[in-house]
């Protein structure tokens, strides 16, 4: 599965970048994530609960930030394994300043889902993946803009 999208953020590119690099912000935004534990430079371990409505599975995941180019963007690599199978997702995030205090965030992603969920979830997998990823960025926007308001 793959796709792309973009969101407008009411914050400066520096502020957005700072937030996107903050593991606490990422933990807040990644679905069902309790906390990110640093295991090596730019790489974290986490427990995720991924799914929709009652259909949720627990995954032991690693989240890595690669190709980091401050403050323009990076690639987020997520690999999760759990009873329902595994998830491999890569998202490339790109930031461009639009105006004073406004930044455009564009993203593209590829995701591969394997195991039980892939074998029985074909009817909804593509749509749900798209939904979860756009949810992540909606949460990112909320995190960034709330912070900005209180700043």
């Amino acid at each position: 599965m793959n796709g792309n999208g973009s969101i407008e953020l009411n914050a400066s590119i520096e502020h957005v970048w700072k937030k996107l690099m903050d593991p606490e912000v990422l933990a807040e935004c990644i679905m069902g994530c309790k906390q990110l534990v640093l295991i090596e430079e730019g790489k974290y371990r986490a427990e995720l609960a991924v799914g929709i409505a009652a259909v949720k599975g627990k995954y032991d995941a690693t989240i890595e930030l690669v190709d980091v180019q401050a403050p323009k963007g990076y690639k987020l690599v997520v690999h999760g394994e759990g009873a329902p199978g595994f998830v491999d997702a890569e998202g490339v995030i790109h930031l461009t300043p639009v105006a004073e205090g406004k930044t455009n965030l564009t993203y593209s992603y590829t995701a591969e889902v394997g195991g039980k969920v892939a074998a029985i979830g074909q009817r909804m997998l593509g749509g749900v993946a798209k939904l979860l990823i756009s949810d992540f960025f909606k949460k990112v926007k909320k995190e960034i803009e709330n912070e900005q308001k209180t700043a």
Binding site: A53, A83, I120, L131
Partner: protein, 294 residues
């Protein structure tokens, strides 16, 4: 395919059900007909700590006509809707839609409430109730509220129901129910999930000009979609081949289906157009008294 272990409770009253919902929070899951939930449990796609069986709550099992509304309790079995003479008389759209739900055996157990709360994007009941301008009656221990179905379905398998709440009734107005109706579904086999579905109700004046029309499409998005733009072009007009074609084209332009193993995105868009047209055309023929066109 055995489920993870769970506690099991069977409340005798709605109040008891609320207590259990409060106690278990999001670890509690209601079970009524179980036709969607039990496979999900067996495949371990979901492992709630407690199953709250509401089959005892027979006060929620009814089909009534009251003050110009049809009201159905959430626990009404789909098969009872299928066999209901009242429904056949007052909203034949439902009578036409229900036989497409699974198979007779599953309809003996499945409930209308369960179908609505499960919110499968291809399900027949959400689609039909939306076409009928339905409302959901939702109760919690503290209060009762109503939600228009156009706001009830949020996304895949997700509705407006909050923790601690119970869908108790679905209702829709029937006194001014249009004469024309049609439910169309395309699937690979009898009883399968729809690839695309369309529900249409409409009414005409004595000249055959369309006065009211509602068209909903299923299987083309995360939730059932009310396609208003497509029907706007038809208001006040007699249905011609050209207008029908235009309506179909607009439907195609306003839905956003995913592709999957059985149907690519392009094919679904094409089917959406084909079946939207079939639904509108059949509903129109019924409204102007020509009977079923298909």
């Amino acid at each position: 395919m055995k489920p993870a272990s769970f506690d099991y409770c069977r409340p005798a009253t709605v109040e008891e059900a609320f207590q259990l919902l409060a106690e278990y929070g999001d670890e509690g899951k209601l079970i009524a007909g179980g036709q969607s939930l039990v496979p999900i449990l067996n495949m371990r796609l979901s492992s709630p700590k407690c199953l709250i069986d509401i089959n005892e709550l027979q006060d929620l099992n009814y089909i009534r006509y009251e003050d110009g509304w049809i009201k159905m309790g959430a626990l009404t079995r789909q098969r009872d809707v299928e066999k209901s003479a009242l429904i056949q008389e007052k909203c034949p759209l439902l009578s036409e839609a229900v036989p497409f739900i699974g198979h007779m055996q599953t309809r003996n157990r499945g409930t209308i409430g369960g179908s609505l709360v499960h919110a499968d994007p291809t399900a027949e009941l959400p689609l039909s109730f939306l076409a009928l301008n339905g409302r959901a009656v939702i109760q919690s221990a503290e209060e009762s509220r109503e939600v228009d179905l156009s706001e009830f379905f949020i996304t895949y398998l997700t509705t407006d129901i909050m923790p601690g709440e119970l869908l108790t009734e679905v209702k829709f107005p029937v006194d001014s129910v249009p004469k024309g109706y049609s439910f169309q579904e395309y699937s690979r086999r009898h009883g399968d999930f729809a690839l695309v579905a369309a529900a249409c109700i409409l009414d005409t004046d004595s000249e055959g000009r369309i006065t009211t029309i509602r068209l909903t499409m299923g299987g083309v998005d995360a939730v059932p979609i009310l396609v208003e733009e497509a029907v706007d072009v038809l208001i006040g007009e007699k249905l011609t081949e050209t207008l029908l074609e235009e309506a179909g084209r607009i439907v195609s332009a306003h839905v956003d289906p995913e592709g999957d193993l059985h149907a690519s995105r392009e094919y679904r868009l094409h089917l959406a157009r084909v079946f939207a047209k079939k639904a509108i055309q059949t509903a129109y023929h019924r409204a102007i008294g020509k009977g079923s066109a298909s």
